[in-house]
Amino acid sequence: MSRTLISQAQLRRGRGKAVYWTLLALVLLVFTLVFIGPLYWMVTGALKSGQEIAQTPPTLFPADPQPENYINAWTRLNLAKLLFNTFYYAIGALVFQLVLDTAAAYALSKLRPAFGNAILGLMLATLMIPAMVLIIPQYVTVIDLPILHINLLDSPLALWLPAVANAFNIFLLKRFFDSIPEDLMAAAVIDGAGPLRTLWSIILPMSRPILGVVSIFAVTAVWKDFLWPKLVMPSPETRTVSVGIYAFAGGTPMNVVVAAAVIAAVPTVVFFLIFQKNIMSGLTTGSLKG
């Protein structure tokens, strides 16, 4: 590892060493408190009774744990259905983005049809437009699709198709495809492979890291999204888990709402623990090294 702000030698010597270890211990303690503390508070708070949660000063451990808060949340909010919906939307969005965005990025990078750069420019221009600005006209579009006159309300397509219009994906994929040498493509063409065959057997196997990044972003984006699914999935049967919890928050005891919020967060946290390395490295490939 190359040197950083403070030199390696300085950290190894007497005073530097002491300062380093004190600081490390302090940061470990503070960061654990700041980032895990609220989560601990959330999980254990949802175990407390309504009476205990209103008690001052608050208790550090639930005196009389009420696991039924979680069971209550599960049944009252129909969390199984909500979680299934969210999962289904996330997988669908992933498939649509992988197929259509990969195909488009491949065309823009390797097939380069006429006006390809103009199309790419128009796609990248959408990165400049804040999502909130588009929310109203997008909603109007979804309830009455131009030309086709289809209403996509409560249809998963209302989440999947707009997800494909993701210029960031196109940009990431195209840039990665650009780095694959032309020679490989030429060799494939000589061997008689058509564009689809080249994409499938040469480009995609080489692009696993970037496909992983795009997949992770696609899944977490659906899981975290709130306003758009709230607008286009209004029925109780089609809601996502975040929207479902929000819809129930009004008439449900605090502890039950937070218990539901904990359950809704479990899949993303597990996902994070599994794909931690890919997520963290993906985040930086996505933003840097341009």
Binding site: M1, S2, R3, L5, I6, S7, L11, L24, V27, F35, P38, L39, W41, G45, T56, P57, P58, A103, A107, L108, L111, P113, A114, I119, M123, P130, M132, V133, L134, I135, I136, P137, T141, V142, P162, V164, A165, A193, P195, L196, K224, F226, L227, L231, S242, I245, A249, M254, V257, A261, V262, A264, A265, V269, F272, Q276, I279, L283, S287, L288
Partner: protein
Amino acid sequence: MAIVTVPGTREQPGSRLRVPVRAPTRRGRRVRDNLTGYAFLIGAVLCFAFFSWYPMIRGIVMSFQRTRRGVTTWVGWDNYERIVNDPSFLTAWKNTLYFTVLALIFGYAVPFFVAILLNEFRHAKGYLRALVYLPVMLPPASALFLFKYYVYDPSDAGLFNAVLKALHLPTSEWMQSTTMTMPAMVLASTWMNMGGAVLIYLAALQNIPGELYEAAELDGAGIWGRILHVTIPQTRLILSLMAMLQIVATMQLFIEPLILAGGAGTQDSATSVAYLIYQHGFFQNDLNGAAALGVIMLVVLAGFSAVYARLTARQDAT
């Protein structure tokens, strides 16, 4: 998916046999190559057309129209007038700008210094990085209910008030106090979102050549001197990019007021521009007014970006 298979079948031996003798003309091949390219593009292009390009134009068009009982008429600047005269209009802008500035002070500086700090540690690196990023993975709705009910509880039973009380500091009513609403939202928002910025800064810090620090140290620069004269200039590009992205993101403040403050908050102290768009579009049945406010927001952000780009360009020139 059928679309994608078309170009593949074009290349099948069968179609090649149809032009056996003469090789395809150059022009013919170019047309065919273009068609293949478009076949791969069409799916994504249609999605962009329907859900990005068209709504962009539609938003501007509908801000000058009014639809009543299925009849759409042109109404000039009426929608803009109505939205500007909404009593919450100025409050919403004031709140949003206040949030943006506060978020810039806390949410922007904190991740950078956290990244500098984490970059110095040779131990527990993975653990610390994972910790900082963990809240980013939570669904915002989940995290905000935690803050609303358990952290910002206005009585002394809430986490913050309990800690403040234990430290003998004054407690606060948080979301029920008009002055604390915004800082409380910035705090929750920073906690939820800073992980991404920290990781991006960390990656940028790792690209700084060690010799630069070496040289600065030989010139007698202390830790602050090195941060000021090496770290910041070396990460300037990413710093200015992140500032831009953060401002655009915070100007769209929506879910924090919606969940933490139930929308408008105490005496409109939480109303944001984005919330006003939502309010007009979906509660006051005024999609056209909401679209007009969307256009105003776009113009403000575009104007801001232009000024920002000019400022940073000038800085680069000197």
